[in-house]
Symmetry: C2
Subunit: 204 residues, 2 copies
């Protein structure tokens, strides 16, 4: 390679590092694990538990959740229907970039509306894995880890999913986990087994 | 670990895979190489050449440029000053996520305004490496790889940087490369040497 940039007949190099080459290097494919479910259903907890195990295998992972998206990339958005939709749209687009970068992405957002999740699926196509964290409102509300249900019941939070705003249950999720009656480890194991079955990586 | 999710006294696990653990695994630190310069100055070309060499070393990289951002994450934005600013803001935020994910990010946007680049620097802080692709308007216009200068001169493109919109030269970039008189390989080598000097990775 002795390509000259100073020549007006320059050969312009573009992306040579492809998704396939990244997968070859890292020994795993990239995919988006889209966790959805009520607040308190275990989305973020399971995502991080899965990430920990994948990292221990030497794989590249990243969790997108409210903690790292809401104050940054989506810091200009509120919680109106339109803003929630735009939030999920951007998360989908960022997840797509991470996929291109060869990363196993785990997203943990309530993402209550079927239409928004379906848009993410259309965008990400065959790399979209919808994981429904199935947990009853009663159990989620009993846990109330962040104290949000109490505030929602008191009317201090408006449009709270499950209380004053609907959650639309996935119709055909790739994976549905009954998180109400299982340990975190059991839930994570279900996700990992699915990844192997899907060929994202091979069990050693 | 036998944490129960079903208990109301659940211990909630959060991110355990840190940036440091990712760096340890991949043998390199993460950083944002923020290429800036006129259209045709070689930003994207050099970024991809650097990426190729880093990939061959087994490192994790990703190039953010108009090709993968403008139609997706920033597909809702046009080219007004406000939209350009928002475009660069989002790119900065996404770059920050990739840094967190342990990736060496290379961004290739004209990013003509000092204020916008400084915002990205403030956001990304010590991991922000500004690389000025220094090339005269004459050379860029002579190259006119995408035919954009011709269109701008003909008035078909408005607010075109260098022609009808200003480019504000970086005052203290971490690296300034005179791309007008060098080969792509020479330019890429300057970047790689800088990364070693900075301790992003160690020369083997």
């Amino acid at each position: 390679m002795t390509t000259q940039m100073k020549s007006s007949n320059t050969v312009w190099h573009h992306a040579t590092v492809t998704r396939d080459r990244r997968a070859e290097l890292s020994k795993h494919k990239s995919v988006v694990l889209w966790f959805t479910g009520l607040s308190g259903a275990g989305k973020s907890t399971i995502a991080h538990a899965v990430e920990e195990q994948l990292h221990q295998k030497g794989y590249h992972t990243f969790v997108l959740d409210g903690d790292n998206v809401r104050h940054g990339l989506c810091g200009d958005l509120g919680f109106s229907d339109a803003d929630r939709m735009e939030n999920i749209r951007r998360v989908g687009e960022v997840a797509k970039l991470f996929i291109e970068a060869g990363v196993i992405v785990l997203t943990a957002f309530i993402s209550p509306f079927r239409a928004d999740r379906d848009k993410a699926r259309q965008l990400i196509q065959e790399d979209f894995v919808e994981i429904y964290c199935d947990c009853s409102l009663e159990v989620c509300e009993e846990r109330d880890v962040k104290g949000l249900y109490r505030k929602a019941r008191a009317g201090e939070i408006k449009h709270f999913t499950g209380i004053s705003s609907p959650y639309e249950i996935p119709e055909n999720p790739e994976l549905s986990i009954n998180t109400g009656g299982k340990t975190i480890e059991e839930c994570a194991a279900e996700v990992l087994a699915y990844l192997v079955k899907r060929g994202v990586y091979q069990e050693k």
